[in-house]
Symmetry: C2
Subunit: 287 residues, 2 copies
């Protein structure tokens, strides 16, 4: 790879996360004046706005014309679109391009890339844990990377120097912790920390039609349901794509919910208090 400062980075999909990555690369001075940030998106207005604001150097409405110039490409697409993009654009990448993505599930992507990726390309699957309920490029500035988690699920064939290059870039964008794991482990854990939480938030809103109930809110309800303002098509895709792990996680949670319900129903004060005390200590020990 070229030095970071002089690299040309291509962003495919200038939505919330694509926009936030472009902003970070620019505002942290990671891509210097001798490097370039390019973007491909189907929305010409977004590209024009991003260029006018100086966030990207040039926008492209045709992926082929951009990919041939890029040393590093961030695929900022949902899983299905990502796989479709890679299938149709595989020939357009420069030889040796380092490619990474941001998709919220990794199993199907890793499997497809192990099978179909061009020999000379290096694809390192990634997942920046820094989304927001506000979607789209217009909200990119609301995405905060500082101190956040980033998961990488490297392929066996990834070049160590490329992995090192990407990790340096991730830390420079402000992320606080990178975890390298398998795609399977990622999907199993994300089903819990992210997908299950979104299912719970959605169920909380789904079960109560009275929107005036917020008169009785003291912060808990608001905090638990903020993520219910989700991007419905994207989360539908993520939930169904990670069906098996997510269903297991829902059952795991429902088991504990049932246990607490039974303590309450039986008026089992000491057992309930002991359980809540353990929960309190476990949560407090989490970093």
């Amino acid at each position: 790879m070229k030095p970071l400062e002089t690299s040309t980075v291509g962003i495919v999909g200038l939505g919330l996360m694509g926009g936030a990555i472009a902003l970070a690369l620019r505002s942290e001075g990671i891509i210097g004046t001798t490097g370039r940030i390019l973007a491909y998106d189907h929305n010409r207005d977004t590209l024009a706005a991003a260029q006018a604001e100086g966030i990207i150097d040039a926008g492209s409405y045709a992926a082929e014309s951009m990919l041939g110039h890029c040393d590093l490409v961030f695929l900022c697409l949902t899983p299905t679109k990502l796989l479709r993009f890679m299938e149709s654009q595989m020939a357009a990448f420069q030889p040796g391009t380092l490619i990474t993505d941001i998709a919220g599930i990794k199993g199907s992507i890793v499997a497809a890339m192990e099978r179909t990726l061009r020999e000379d390309l290096d694809f390192i699957p990634g997942h920046p844990m820094a989304g927001s309920e506000m979607g789209g490029f217009i909200h990119a500035r609301s995405c905060r990377f500082k101190g956040k988690n980033y998961i990488l699920t490297p392929l066996k064939r990834n070049k160590p120097e490329n992995l090192g290059f990407l990790k340096t870039l991730i830390y420079r964008m402000g992320f606080g912790r990178i975890t390298e794991t398998s795609a399977q482990e990622h999907d199993r854990n994300i089903a819990f920390t992210s997908q299950l939480c979104h299912v719970i938030a959605a169920a909380l809103i789904d079960c109560e039609p009275d929107t005036e109930i917020t008169r009785f809110g003291g912060g808990s309800f608001e905090d638990l349901t903020r993520i219910a303002m989700l991007n419905a098509p994207m989360w539908t895709e993520l939930f169904i794509e990670n069906q098996e792990e997510l269903l297991q996680r829902i059952e795991q949670f429902a088991g504990s919910l049932d246990k607490l319900k039974s303590y309450i129903a039986r008026g089992a004060g000491p057992e309930l208090e002991q359980c809540l005390q353990t929960v309190r200590e476990r949560r407090a020990s989490m970093v």
Copy 2:
């Protein structure tokens, strides 16, 4: 009632909320130099600290010696302790004292007060929706009242002028919205916005022993489980005291959770997406 500025306010229980109320009364200049803020607590160190910091004018380790001086008393105790306190101290209040509380359930308190309150005392049940997972006087400064909800469940016998007086005080402390409702309606809605959310947070932590799972956190899990750092004895009491309403709310939530689970299990994309879209819109419309 005397004018607010010259009133003597007594705080019974100088914990998180008692402390936060004393701080608000003082820092907002609500109780002027001709008024006084007194506090009763079983912890002498807390009283000494609060007095040294100028948050209260005097602390009392014996309730009787304080209550005889107060025009207005905030009972900042859990429901059981509140009822026990009122039973043992009923004779100690000044004639005509306006009394209010902050307990998270209202049914049992209203029922007891309707039955046992001295004729000349005016007890207005209240619930400031501004708690925090950080308990105790030491965290009182972390309680923010600004713009928060406050629920009042007045008794039939409450004097209109006292209700007006208390409402003025609540707004001056910074609260943004006061809802007057019945104790039953309070308990039914609080079971949803507060108690159910705490049960869900506790179940989420209870069901996963791996504290390292936060490496995969992106904010959702952290937001949903912050309140799992709850005060175990207090919440045990609140859950069991409001058992009937809370169990109904848990079932209501579990019904929606089951519905979402079934969409995911059946890979019912369009139904799932439609449901998530409705949820998104409903949550976005909540104020």
